[in-house]
Amino acid sequence: MGAITCAACFATYTSVSAGEAYTLTLKDHRFEPAQLTIKAETPATLVVKNLDATPEEFESKTLRIEKIIPANSQASFTIRALKAGRYKFVGEFHEDSAKGELIAE
């Protein structure tokens, strides 16, 4: 109960999408592109599309993201203004193949 009302009061905040939008696709447990260059020091929106028939957990310690993306769906993330550098991400359920990095320049 508390959870629902609490979530409801935040719901209005969350539709704000910031900055430029970038897209990653996940197919056969691989990211395309595996290296994505984005602008440094600017907030951005990252959309991750999971085209596989299985769920995946998109995770990046450095970007501080941890989220399950169900099969054949997508999720969108607000990326904070990043310092120039490389930010690794993985699909935790298929870590051997599903890996890549954001390059902030």
Binding site: G2, A7, A11, T54, R64, K67, I69, S73
Partner: protein, 275 residues
């Protein structure tokens, strides 16, 4: 198979530790086991439901349903743990003085058991849904085969083993100190969960400030390793926390500590018959 085992075990550690701690905390209370097992069962059932409706959940609240759900669950667990600790500081001493189990049960009331069973349920709900989705993915893809699935189940079994190890480790501590140890454990556990909750609110974009990274110790101890994960649960260790996470962590520690101190009743010096 080993990969699947590690993935599932990593998810199961947190719930495993929490179950073990709660079992030790409630040892000797009448019906404690029943409460906890109902908590485990409800958590597991809830986890399956969440996994089943994962798609709907992640699409809700403009795509932030999952984050808000996790943040709320964590916050709820923090409140229950804090409440338990404060309650125990009032009544804990009486409890440890009463040796008969009947007396303890009457004095303890069932509410604190309910809160702790709730904490167990929430822990399993949160981690369990991820495990369920992973195992579902393994079966649905059909490409990896059943040894991966069994690896996952083995990871779950290891998670349960963590519960038992924690429980038997804790009950080795003499009852007098056990109370002090567990109330500290619960305070740190709650602070760590509060910080995680804050992280989910930041990920959802609900809180956009204080995102600077406080420190980066991933080179020394990544919180994806087993040890990192254990410390993550026990003391809230994070290898790259945000400033907000650090603040929420400290604030929760201070709040629970002071609330516990202020509500604690001094042990009554009851006249005792000398032996």
């Amino acid at each position: 198979m080993l990969g699947a085992l590690i993935i599932v075990f990593r998810e199961a550690i947190e719930a495993g530790l929490i179950v073990g701690i709660v079992l030790a905390v409630t040892r000797g209370l009448v019906h404690a086991r029943t409460y906890i097992f109902v908590g485990v069962g409800a958590g597991a059932g809830g986890a399956l439901l969440v996994a089943l409706f994962a798609d709907a959940l992640s699409k809700s609240f403009s795509g932030n349903g999952q984050e808000l759900f996790n943040a709320s669950i964590l916050a709820l667990a923090v409140i229950m743990l804090a409440w338990h600790n404060i309650w125990m500081s009032r009544h804990g001493r009486e409890l440890s003085q009463q040796l008969s189990t009947v007396g303890r049960a009457v004095a303890s009331g069932e509410r604190t058991l309910l809160a702790l069973a709730g904490v167990v349920g929430l822990a399993i709900l949160r981690e369990g849904s991820e495990v369920a989705l992973f195992l579902y993915g393994v079966i649905a893809s059909g490409e990896t085969g059943y040894d991966v699935f069994f690896g996952g189940l083995l990871g779950l079994a290891l998670g349960a083993a963590v519960s038992f190890a924690t429980f038997y480790g804790l009950i080795k501590i003499p009852p007098r100190s056990l109370f002090v140890v567990t109330s500290w454990l619960i305070t740190f556990l709650a602070a760590g969960l509060a910080a995680q909750s804050a992280a989910f609110l930041q990920q959802a974009g609900v809180i956009t400030m204080l995102t600077e990274t406080l420190w980066d110790t991933s080179w020394a101890l990544s919180d994806k390793t087993i040890l990192g994960r254990v410390l993550h649960t026990l003391i809230g260790y994070s290898d790259q926390p945000s400033l907000l996470q650090g603040l929420v962590y400290l604030l929760t520690l201070i709040l629970i500590y002071t609330a516990t101190k202020f509500t604690a009743v001094r042990p009554k010096l009851e006249p005792r018959l000398s032996p």
